[in-house]
Point group: C2
Chain length 326, copies 2
């Protein structure tokens, strides 16, 4: 479900009158995305995405997200570009919600990741990190290390219902991760995506028939944090098989392509194992929180937290870089 707010056609037409996009031609809800209401919008000017920001998004943070997308697009990244209204504003209101129109990106997200996706993904990630340099707004990572203890506390009452002994295991894992986490300022930081899962990366075949990234979307978890943590998120999201076996070929392809664009320092490389454990814990905790707090019958897909427990355990045993194919 990714349409939470319905928009009447009169309200939509009034909203579009504030843009120079010509006449409305079509307007369909999009199934993908879980945080906001997304519509495919077609006007005489072409294809766009209209997003209504729902309650999980803090309106005060929208200028960061929209500004970052605009900065990255201006720097050559294939990411959604906010469309400005006639008065210059990109962030507007529709149906009682903050709303924005962004450009439509071609491409298809990989329902089944293959090693061939991982090099272009690593390249796009590095290009995004470089393109974000010069964007001066900062957004702390609300779901970074400082957020994990409160999240875990929020799961304490019912977490063991998912798996016996889970909370004790996560307490120990969190303590170990925080103890080994890079000190403030020790690693290069900047604007990161922080949620670059396969459904947020579009691909099209290049002239050689191999996949190329045609677009990166959904910057609504983006924040200012360690570049190498963004890599760790991608290693979690892209490099496991369906049976949770870590695929070293994919990791090597992703890291190699990344490093060809933005070399990794020794400190970043040495930190990768703990960053991967942290990223696994981050997705485990938000899924566990949703799992234990979503009422039965709610129209929200509850993602299985156990997937990230398996990944956390893998990375907990992967102390050296050889586990990553390096």
């Amino acid at each position: 479900m990714a349409v939470y707010t319905e928009v009447s056609d009169e309200a939509l037409r009034a909203f579009l009158a504030d843009y120079a996009l010509g006449e409305l031609l079509a307007f369909r809800g999009i199934a993908e995305g879980v945080e906001n209401s997304n519509y495919a919008l077609k006007t005489e000017a072409g294809d766009f995405i209209l997003t209504l920001y729902e309650k999980r998004v803090d309106p005060a943070e929208l200028p960061y997200f929209l500004g970052l997308m605009e900065h990255l697009a201006a720097g050559g990244m294939a990411c959604p570009t906010p469309v400005h209204g006639r008065d210059g504003a990109a962030l507007r209101a529709l149906a009682g919600r903050p709303a924005a129109i962004v450009t439509f990106l071609p491409g298809v997200w990989p329902r089944r990741v293959r090693a061939e996706h991982c090099a272009p993904l690593g390249k796009a990630l590095a290009e995004m990190h470089l393109a974000g340099v010069g964007f001066d707004m900062r957004r702390p990572n609300a779901l970074g290390p400082k957020g994990w203890a409160p999240l875990l506390d929020g799961c304490r009452a019912r977490g063991d219902e998912v798996q016996s002994g889970l909370i004790a295991e996560l307490d120990a894992a969190l303590a170990g991760i925080l103890a080994a986490w890079p000190a403030e300022g020790a690693l290069p930081a900047g604007q990161i995506h922080a949620d670059l899962f396969p459904d947020n990366a579009f691909f099209l075949p290049g002239p050689d028939g191999q996949p190329r990234v045609s677009g990166v979307i959904d910057f609504y978890f983006a924040c200012t944090d360690l570049f190498a943590y963004d890599i760790a998120v991608c290693l979690n999201a892209w490099c496991f098989e369906a049976d949770y076996a870590f695929n070293v070929t994919r990791a090597r392809a992703m890291l190699g392509a990344y490093r060809a664009i933005r070399p990794l320092s020794d400190a970043e490389l040495q930190a990768l194992p703990v960053l991967c454990r942290g990223a696994a814990l981050r997705f485990l905790l938000t899924r566990l929180y949703d799992w234990t707090h979503t009422p039965e019958g709610a129209l929200v897909t509850r993602k299985d937290p156990v997937e990230y427990l398996r990944k956390l355990r893998f990375f907990s045993g992967a102390e050296t870089l050889s586990a990553f194919g390096l």
Copy 2:
């Protein structure tokens, strides 16, 4: 939720190779629709809809549905036209499901129906009825009068949980409707849509700024039944306010525009009240069945059966045509 089956990009590309649609440019799940998996597909040839038929659809009936759409489109109806593969077949297989590509239709479905939508809707309905003449396949209405007693029996065990006394009220209503139902052959019949709700009708403004029907979609309840029953479905679906008050202005507009294209016989007019009660009962029963059989927590929107109980009660008190503005 309207994506039940995920399609890998390799499978999609292999599938598209059987069509002359050029390269794949984009592929996004569509939120609307509840029976099947629907994707917005963009190729070098333009915009299309790819549908994977899920378990509620009997594959043996797909040639009727696709054939009807093709016949109606050939007759000038703005409805999805099945796209044929290079071998001539429109009905194919993808990801283990029957699948078809149909043309994309412009327009926006009205989230809030206004009287201005009802005349063009009535006109399009009449044009569809005429355009279906000459399509020789027949599909009995599985959700017609003969299907209602078994549906009601299926709700008997838990129906009164929705509202006390409901099953007894529906037993009496069904008996009354069946006693008054037009005899076989008494009214003109042909191909009907049978589910023409607002989300199945797209509109765009005409040169005068007034809404015009730009497309009718979702023919997967279409069948061979009384034309006037299709009108009764639309009176149920389009002519009630949010508080379940019947809006005579909308009904008059719909019926007037319909009759300007396809005149209604006296027998059809006299039958409208019982047909409207039957149509209300039909949607009440399928919603009640889903309500009492959908497990809590399932990812399916359960539509409120009480809405159609209110409509059934309205039509039960509307014995004469003056209630319809005639």
